[in-house]
Symmetry: C2
Subunit: 163 residues, 2 copies
C-alpha cells in the first residue's frame, strides 16, 4: 500500500477526538481522568474550531492520526502559552515526529503573538524521556513544585522563550 509522509493540520476533524482519545489511552501513560480531559479538549476544538481556547497540531498519514499537540494562551498573561498535550502513537515513535509537532506548535504560538511556552511534567522515572525531550528542544526548568502530584511526585514546569 502507498504510504505518504506525515502531514500537519491545525483544524480538528470529526474523527479526531476519538482517535486522540485512543492514541492517548494506548500510550499507557495517562490516567482515566487525564484521558477524559484529552478527549474533552479535542471535542472543544472540534465544536468551536478557531474560536476554541484550545489549538491543535495534528499529524496524520494515510487517514490515520500519528500524533498531536494541544496548546493555548495562558489566561491573565500577556503572552504566555501552555502546551497541554503532546503525544505520538507508539508505532510512530523514533521518527522525530514529537520534535516536528513541537516545532509547528512553537511557530503557531509565535504567529499568535506568544513569547513563552510552558510544558508541565512529572518528576517520576516514567517521564524521564519526556524531560529529556524538552531539554533537547531548548526548554529549561522554570519551577519545581515538590510533591505536587502526590508523595514523591514533583511537578516540573519547563519553559522556552519563543521568537
Amino acid at each position: 500500500m502507498a504510504t505518504g509522509r506525515p502531514a500537519f493540520r491545525t483544524l480538528v476533524s470529526p474523527g479526531d477526538p476519538a482517535a486522540i482519545e485512543q492514541l492517548v489511552r494506548d500510550t499507557g501513560f495517562f490516567s482515566t481522568e487525564e484521558i477524559a480531559i484529552a478527549r474533552e479538549l479535542a471535542d472543544d476544538g472540534l465544536a468551536n474550531g478557531p474560536a476554541s481556547h484550545y489549538r491543535f497540531v495534528i499529524a496524520g498519514q494515510d487517514g490515520a492520526l500519528l500524533g498531536y499537540a494541544c496548546f493555548g494562551p495562558v489566561p491573565g498573561t500577556e503572552s504566555g502559552w501552555d502546551l497541554y498535550w503532546i503525544a505520538v502513537r507508539q508505532d510512530a515513535q523514533g521518527q522525530h515526529l514529537g520534535r516536528a509537532l513541537l516545532e509547528v506548535t512553537e511557530s503557531a504560538v509565535q504567529a499568535a503573538g506568544g513569547t513563552r511556552l510552558y510544558a508541565e511534567t512529572s518528576s517520576r522515572a516514567q517521564y524521564e524521556p519526556t524531560r529529556a525531550f524538552y531539554l533537547r528542544r531548548g526548554y529549561t526548568v522554570a519551577a519545581r513544585l515538590p510533591e505536587f502530584y502526590g508523595p514523591g511526585d514533583d511537578k516540573l514546569v519547563y519553559s522556552k522563550l519563543i521568537g
Copy 2:
C-alpha cells in the same frame, strides 16, 4: 439598624454571582478578563451546587456579601487544592475577614482529604499586601515563574501543608 456578625456559608445562593462580580470589580484589583472568570466560577457553583468543581466560602452579613473564597481540587493530583479567589469588600477590610475566610477554606480542604493548598499571585507592588497575608498565614513560596504574567511581572506560587 441592627447588624449581626458575619456568617459563613458554602452554598452559592441565586444572588451571589452578581454580588461576587460586583465585589471583585469594586476592589479595583482585577482585569475585565479576571472579573469575567470570577463570575463564571460563581455561576458554575450556583448551577451545579456541591457537584461543581468549584467550592465556595461566602461571608455574609445582613443579606450583604462581605467576602468570599473560591477553591477546588487540582486535577491530576492526589490531594492538591487550588485557592482560585479570595476577596473581601473594601469597606469590610481590617476585620480579619480574609483570615477567617482562609481558615474556613483550609478546614474545608482538609475535610475533603486535601493535604496542600496553593495560592498564586503576582510579584507586582500592588500585591504586596496579598503576599504578606499568605506569609502570615503560614504559606511559603513553592515556586516563582519569572515574567509569567508579563514583563517584570512574575508569578509566585504559595503553598501550605494542610492537616
